[in-house]
């Protein structure tokens, strides 16, 4: 029988790995719109981590800020400047 605590740790490990992959993709991506979406995926993984670490207050503020408001600000700024990062 698997303990409930172990399942929670397992979810944390998966969320942590997902956030790591998303961060890596966000850093190397040249299309800034895609990079922001990767960053939002990373934030979603963090939200799962916060929830499992018993910080629902932080999870509640992290969802609207990191998935809604912050990408929106960056999208507005990308629209006002340039979408693609120059290689080099």
């Amino acid at each position: 029988m698997i303990e409930p605590k172990l399942i929670s740790y397992l979810f944390m490990a998966v969320a942590g790995a997902l956030s790591l992959i998303a961060t890596y993709l966000a850093v190397i991506e040249k299309d800034l719109v895609k990079a922001v979406i990767y960053s939002a995926i990373q934030s979603t993984a963090y939200t799962i981590l916060f929830y499992l670490l018993m910080a629902p207050d932080i999870a509640l503020v992290y969802i609207p800020v990191a998935v809604g408001l912050y990408p929106a600000v960056v999208f507005f700024l990308i629209k006002k400047t340039e979408r693609f990062e120059e290689s080099g």
Binding site: I28, D57, L60, P64, V65, G68, L69
Partner: protein, 276 residues
Amino acid sequence: MRLGRYLQAFSLVALAVLLAVALTYKGLGDLPNPAVRDLALWYLYTTLNPEVPNMTVMSPEAVTAIVWDYRGLDTLFETMVFFLAIVGALAIMRGITLNEGGEGLHIERYGLSLITKTATKLLVPLIIGVSASIALHGHLTPGGGFQGGSAAAVAPLLVLVIFSTYYVVFKLRLSELSMISLRTLGLMGIYMTSFATLILGLVIGVNAYIFQNMPKANAFIGLPPALGGSLISGTLFFFNLFEFFAVAAGFTLVFILLSIPEVKAREVLKGEEHGH
């Protein structure tokens, strides 16, 4: 090039694994002293405990109790930082406004498709309802003014993107000025709430403190923990309510300013260069 990418990915994974190993074997110094946890136990013991009348906050939500009562000054200054950030945005965008020129516009032609607009019309009341619940139950369940306010700000943001800025400013009448007014109202509410007990004490003529919530050992006065049979935890409910308005209006204000078309902003900036 390809090898470099693999090396990058490998070094990230190696960093994560090594940090985990180092933390597990206390390689980055000792873990915090377990004696610190006595403080947490004290908060949990006193947060809703009428048996310790001079210590309790009368709120079952220990996090909100810490945020707005035990450590309330920290949150007050955080609100001030957010206030200054919005003032900075306003100062940079000064003079750039959409307040006129909406008469000849066909507002319904702007924005995304009808399907998206209908879905948004259904979603917006839900978002506002959930965010109001998060903020107004902040002293009972996880959540609070900032959480509720930032969730509520998603609703005008969706309308701005999906229905266009013109719809928000000319049809819904959510101009910058009304957002500034709402935000000032929220901040004034926070200001008045932090002085409420002091003013009450001055009127009655007993000892009281700024930012006081429940009665303390040498200041017997405090705000009521419940109104009409439902728990409001003294100042916590009012702080959450006013913070909700201040944060939601602040974010909406920044988004309205950011979504003003670049052409309009350029006109104002060019005018400045020519000395108009």
